[in-house]
Every structure is written in structure tokens, then in C-alpha cells.
């Protein structure tokens, strides 16, 4: 079954077309306009969590549409109004709506809302976070909403208000949450790369933020099982089982098969090694999935973290996934001495891991860290060398030029993946 499915998906591949609307091109690369046979074969070959399967299947079914044109602000505000009329009985007023930049995968609109709800008057600055038709990473707004709810009160996160999981009211699926105050990087320091990668906080601010960084990570990873059990859009994970990580590997391997413009033996080598070396969980954690500098806001005056953002890649699984991610080479930089690498621009790696162990009571296992270094680089290679180029080429995002730029992270990550696999294979 496995071989047949693989062959049927690939048997007509030749030169990749340049125009996603070209019917001849669609016949050559089934990924341009996938049919039900192609979709079903991938679902059978790469079983993953139910909500992930739903999101990826929906993605493929709407692929092949004309180039995306970003909705006007008025169109988006009209969608917000429809959503609010569905939830609120009383009148409301939307003001000061405007596009927010800074994120690579989702569209964001900031606005102010005055509304009445059950006799109480509310006035808040809010953010609509909405999917474009195609994204550098395709995720579930339901899962993101549930992850934010699970983390609320544990670490600072934006307060969630409403979610439109199917795009019944909004132009696309989205959620609305409170706008958190703060910045992602020092306003007076030189800009880092896009998306907060490689942010330099400076030697005075690093220890202050670093302490909070570790404390919050610990708190997320030790969220109580009762709270995790309420996350119904997550299939759940079990101590003593490796089923959850195998589902995760299948998730990204499926995405690679759905999105890649060209094959890469490196990805298949990584996927096989990850499946064959998947370890049983020793503790089920809420894993943020993208825990790093660039994904928290802080107040410049008080130097306190005000919100953790971008929970769309959250999973229930192994804490080492976050630990390997935030210590990754592309998210940090060397300190002023030119020799000390600072994880996420905040702390030396060994110091960070030591503090984490002390605060959490959970061991950091070097072998699991190495496993998740492979896993994270595998997933990132899929994002950058597969999905980013696919969605930019098909004109499916609201910022194709940014997505194509970010794809250039891919070769460095792939090189790191190759080197690590050489160590472990």
C-alpha cells in the first residue's frame, strides 16, 4: 500500500511549472491542483492528529485558485462586524482599524472595540489574527485558541474573545484577542532580521528578560494534566508512548509531500530516522512550538514580558522540542565577547538548561535534545524549502515577497540537519 501510494502521487512528475493556473502544469505536478486520489493517498500514508488532518486536507482542496489579493481593510472590518453580531446581542463600535505587521504566517488587524455584554460596558484594543488562503505554515485556529486558553493565568498571554474556525463570518478562519502592550525588540537598537530572528537585547536587558524567559517556559511545560485534558482539538499524548511524536513526524512529512517544489533525499532520510528513533514520553507537556525571542512582547519601561504570542504550533508532547528550538543557532547570536552563544539572544545554552532543570524539576536529556534538534530542523526544512516556496509561487499569501525571502533560511537549516544526521545515523 505504501509503495503504491507513493508511486501514484509521483508518477507524473516532470519539470515543475511556473504558473499554478496552467492546466497543463497541474497535470504535470499533482500538487498544483491535487485531486481526491492524491489527497486520500497522503492521508493514508501519513496519519496525524485529527484536527491537523482536517486543516491540511482543507488546504489541498482549495489549492489551485487564482492569485490571492489581500482583502481591503474595509472588507476585513465588515467580517469582524458579522462575527460580533453573531456573538453579541447589543450594539458595538469598531474604530481605529489598521493592519499589523511583524508576523510571517498570519494576517493581523488591530482595532478598538466598544461593546456591551450582559449589562457590562467594555472598551478594549483588540487584534484579529486571520489565516490567508495559504500560509508558510498551515495551522488550526481552534488549536491556537485552546492553547491560549490553556496557558491563560499560567504565563502572560493575550485574552481570547472570539474564534471563527471555518471563516463563516470573517473572510478566512481567525480569532480575536486582546492587544497586548509592548515590543518584541528594543526600540533603540538596530533592527534584527524579519520576524524577530537574531534580536539583540543588549547586555543590561538580557538577564532581566532571561529570568522570565526560563520561568515562563517552565510554567508552560508543567501545566496540569487536568487543564491539558480540556484541549479537545489535540489528540493527546501518553507517558510511556511514542505515538504522539510519530504523529508529529507524519504531519511534517505529509506537508513536505503536499508542498515541495522538488524532492530532497535529506527530508526522507530525516523522516525515517525520526520514526525509527522515536522515544516514549516521560512527561506530557504543553509545548509552545515556537518559543523564542520574537514571540514575546515586553514593556520597555518595566522590562516585564507582557504576552507570549504565536501559539499556532503548540502540541502536547515532549518539552525537549521547545528546548531544542529556543537554543537553535538561527534564533540566537554571539555575545559581545564573540565567543558565547546566547540562546534566543538571552542566555548561554548551558546556563539556560541548568536553570530550567532547577525550576521545573524535569531533567534535560541530551539524547532527547539531539532528537529534537533533528526534528526541529526537519520541520523547518519542510517549512522553508517546501511550503514557503510553494505558497509564494502560487501567490497564496498576503506577503509572498516576505515568505520567499524567509525561504532563504532553508539551506542553512538543511545543512545543519545533514550534519546532525551524519552524527546519529
Amino acid at each position: 500500500m505504501h509503495k503504491t501510494d507513493h508511486l501514484s502521487a509521483n508518477s507524473q512528475l516532470r519539470t515543475l511549472p511556473l504558473d499554478g493556473e496552467d492546466k497543463t502544469a497541474a497535470m504535470v505536478d499533482p500538487r498544483n491542483a491535487p485531486d481526491q486520489h492524491f489527497i486520500d493517498a497522503l492521508r493514508r500514508r501519513f496519519p496525524c492528529e485529527a484536527e491537523i488532518d482536517r486543516v491540511l486536507t482543507a488546504k489541498l482542496k482549495q489549492r489551485g485558485r487564482p492569485d490571492y489579493r489581500r482583502e481591503s481593510l474595509d472588507e476585513v472590518v465588515a467580517g469582524i462586524e458579522r462575527l460580533l453580531r453573531h456573538h453579541l446581542d447589543d450594539e458595538f463600535t469598531i474604530t481605529n482599524a489598521g493592519w499589523l505587521g511583524g508576523g510571517a504566517s498570519k494576517m493581523q488587524v488591530a482595532f478598538h472595540l466598544d461593546w456591551q455584554d450582559q449589562g457590562a460596558t467594555h472598551s478594549r484594543d483588540l487584534v484579529l489574527r486571520m489565516e490567508p488562503p495559504a500560509s508558510i505554515v498551515e495551522t488550526s485556529r481552534t488549536r491556537e485558541f485552546e492553547a491560549l486558553k490553556a496557558a491563560a493565568g499560567i504565563v502572560p498571554v493575550p485574552e481570547c474573545y472570539w474564534v471563527d474556525t471555518e471563516g463563516a463570518f470573517l473572510p478566512h478562519p481567525g480569532l480575536i484577542y486582546a492587544r497586548a502592550p509592548g515590543v518584541t525588540r528594543p526600540s533603540k537598537r538596530p533592527l534584527g532580521q524579519v520576524s524577530g530572528i537574531g534580536t539583540n537585547f543588549g547586555p543590561e536587558l538580557r538577564p532581566v528578560l532571561g529570568r522570565q524567559f526560563v520561568r515562563h517556559l517552565t510554567a508552560i511545560h508543567t501545566v496540569a494534566p487536568e487543564r491539558l485534558a480540556q484541549m479537545k482539538a489535540f489528540d493527546g499524548a501518553t507517558v510511556g508512548s511514542n505515538a504522539s511524536i510519530i504523529r508529529q513526524v507524519n504531519w511534517w512529512r505529509r506537508v513536505w509531500e503536499e508542498d515541495r517544489l522538488e524532492a530532497q533525499p535529506l527530508v526522507e532520510i530525516a523522516a525515517r530516522w525520526l520514526r525509527e528513533n522515536a522515544r516514549a514520553l516521560d512527561h506530557v507537556s504543553l509545548v509552545h512550538g515556537d518559543y523564542r525571542a520574537g514571540n514575546f512582547l515586553y514593556d520597555e519601561e518595566s522590562e516585564q514580558i507582557t504576552a507570549w504570542l504565536d501559539w499556532e504550533l503548540a502540541v502536547l508532547g515532549d518539552r525537549h522540542q521547545d528546548l531544542a528550538w529556543l537554543t537553535g543557532a538561527h534564533f540566537g547570536h554571539y555575545a559581545e565577547d564573540g565567543a558565547t552563544f546566547l540562546a534566543s539572544g538571552l542566555l548561554p545554552v548551558s546556563e539556560l538548561l541548568e536553570r530550567y532543570e532547577q525550576a521545573s524539576g524535569l531533567a534535560v536529556d541530551p539524547a532527547r535534545l539531539r532528537y529534537f534538534r533533528v526534528y526541529n530542523d526537519f520541520a523547518s526544512t519542510v517549512h522553508m524549502l517546501g511550503t514557503a516556496c510553494r505558497v509564494a509561487r502560487q501567490g497564496g499569501t498576503h506577503q509572498d515577497v516576505l515568505v520567499a525571502w524567509l525561504a532563504m533560511i532553508g539551506p542553512g537549516i538543511a545543512a545543519g540537519l545533514r550534519a546532525t544526521l551524519e552524527e546519529v545515523l
Binding site: 505504501h2 509503495k3 519539470t15 524579519v194 524532492a263 530516522w273 525509527e276 515577497v401 538543511a414
Partner: protein, 179 residues
């Protein structure tokens, strides 16, 4: 050809930089970010355009070297052997155009990925190691190609891209690399 590609790129860059970007509303952070990225992307394209033919030749040569690393003579690798044979013919033909070289390279990659997916477990580690070693030149080339984006500081330590391309024997002599 009038106007030539270099002229079209240079005037587009100038217009974006000197006229369009200064006219964007400073409050529109998204538009400003995308305008800067558009400029940077065009600059990279302009630098890389003269190298395209060389790139296609080198990438095909690298793919053939990877395919060689998976050649164990086993009959199960027949599809890969067929793709290798066709790719060698393309690589060895001085009249091959970029599209032909690209198609041959992509076909090789497909067969290699398929072979690794289907190889029996007892052979996976050895084949994997062999393939990983053989893919380093291609990954180094890709890293150097995009080094100016600034995501991979170590990539600037690799040789200049022109050297990485010209080192391919296929480029120097017009002959295939693989045995």
C-alpha cells in the same frame, strides 16, 4: 535585446528605491517592509542572473554525484539507474539548455527520495550515510547562493559563488562529473 534584462532590473530597483519607497505612508509598516524586501530580492536576482546557466550545470552535476552514492548495483534501484543514465546524457551534451538540465535534476531527486523511502531497514543507515556525505556540495552551494540574505553568517566563509560554480569539472571541460 533592447531593453536588456540588466537595464530592466536596474531601472525597477531605482524606481522602487528613489520614488516608490519614499512615498509610502510611514505608518504602513507592512508596505514599507515589503518594499524593502522587493528591492533586496531584485538586487539578488540581478547579481545571480548571469550565473543561471552555470548554476543549472553545477546542480545537475551535484545531483549525479548524489545518485552515484546510492548506486549499489542492486536491481531494485532500476528506476534511479534509468534517471541517472538520462541525466548523464543531458549533462554531457554541451547543447543542453537550462530547462533540460533542470528536468533531469528533478527527476534524479524524485528517484533518490523514492529509493530512500522504500529501501529495506537493514540497508537504510548505510545508504543514508552515503547520501548525506554526497549532498554536502549541493547544500554548500545553496547556502552560498542565498548568503546575502543574512540568515546564515557562517555561509559567508564558503568560497565565492563564482568559484563554487566554476569548480565543477562539467563547467570547466563540458564533460559529465559522474563516472
Amino acid at each position: 535585446m533592447i531593453p536588456d534584462l540588466e537595464l530592466q532590473l536596474s531601472v525597477t530597483i531605482k524606481a522602487l528605491r528613489d520614488v516608490v519607497l519614499p512615498a509610502i505612508d510611514p505608518a504602513d509598516g507592512v508596505a514599507i517592509e515589503q518594499a524593502h524586501l522587493a528591492l533586496a530580492t531584485l538586487g539578488m536576482v540581478r547579481a545571480h542572473l548571469p550565473l543561471r546557466q552555470n548554476l543549472a550545470q553545477t546542480e545537475l552535476s551535484n545531483a549525479l554525484a548524489m545518485a552515484d552514492s546510492l548506486d549499489t548495483g542492486a536491481t531494485a534501484e532500476t528506476a534511479l539507474a534509468t534517471a541517472r543514465s538520462k541525466a548523464k546524457a543531458v549533462a554531457g551534451n554541451p547543447a543542453s539548455c537550462q530547462d533540460e538540465m533542470e528536468a533531469a535534476r528533478l527527476s534524479l531527486l524524485e528517484e533518490m527520495e523514492r529509493l530512500i523511502a522504500d529501501v529495506p531497514a537493514h540497508r537504510f543507515a548505510a545508504l543514508g550515510r552515503s547520501c548525506l556525505a554526497a549532498m554536502q556540495p549541493q547544500l554548500d552551494l545553496q547556502r552560498r547562493w542565498v548568503a546575502d540574505a543574512g540568515f546564515d553568517p557562517d555561509a559567508t566563509g564558503l568560497p565565492a559563488i563564482e568559484k563554487m560554480l566554476s569548480q565543477s569539472p562539467a563547467n570547466a571541460k563540458g564533460t559529465p562529473v559522474s563516472r
